[in-house]
Symmetry: C2
Amino acid sequence: MRQNDLDELRGQVDELNTKILDLINERTSVVQEIGKVKEKQGVNRYDPIREREMLNALVQSNEGPIPNGIVEQIFKGIFMSALEIQEDEQRNALLV
Amino acid sequence: MRQNDLDELRGQVDELNTKILDLINERTSVVQEIGKVKEKQGVNRYDPIREREMLNALVQSNEGPIPNGIVEQIFKGIFMSALEIQEDEQRNALLV
């Protein structure tokens, strides 16, 4: 009985993992679009003020159980990845 | 014109941020449930084999643009957070 509960809960986690991944990928695609617009404007991609605003908005809408400090930690990782990917792409473009 | 594009794209990012946060919170709640079942079974919460399986499944379903290495990095952070939160709760329960 309990093993079934565990399997059922694990199935839920697997489904959530995939949904989270899809959304983070979707987010990264939009950030790439933003990067292209900024490039045309000659503006720097990294915008610490915008990053702070996003973190504040996230903390404000956070209903838990994840504490705000860890929310910030996870999202800083997600923000950083999106920037890293763009830098890699830029570097590769320069190498072509 | 371009500023409007940027605002529109940023709006999309804000929406995605909130959706991602909600799903990570939902995931954490399910992991807490799993923790309770495991506690009753006297089984250790941290399960590196299950973690590896989840990472493999994520990498397999990853359609990009995030590279697999960064997908693993982000999700290891998410997995770790869920464990940390449970440990904190356990510690607090012992202190009551």
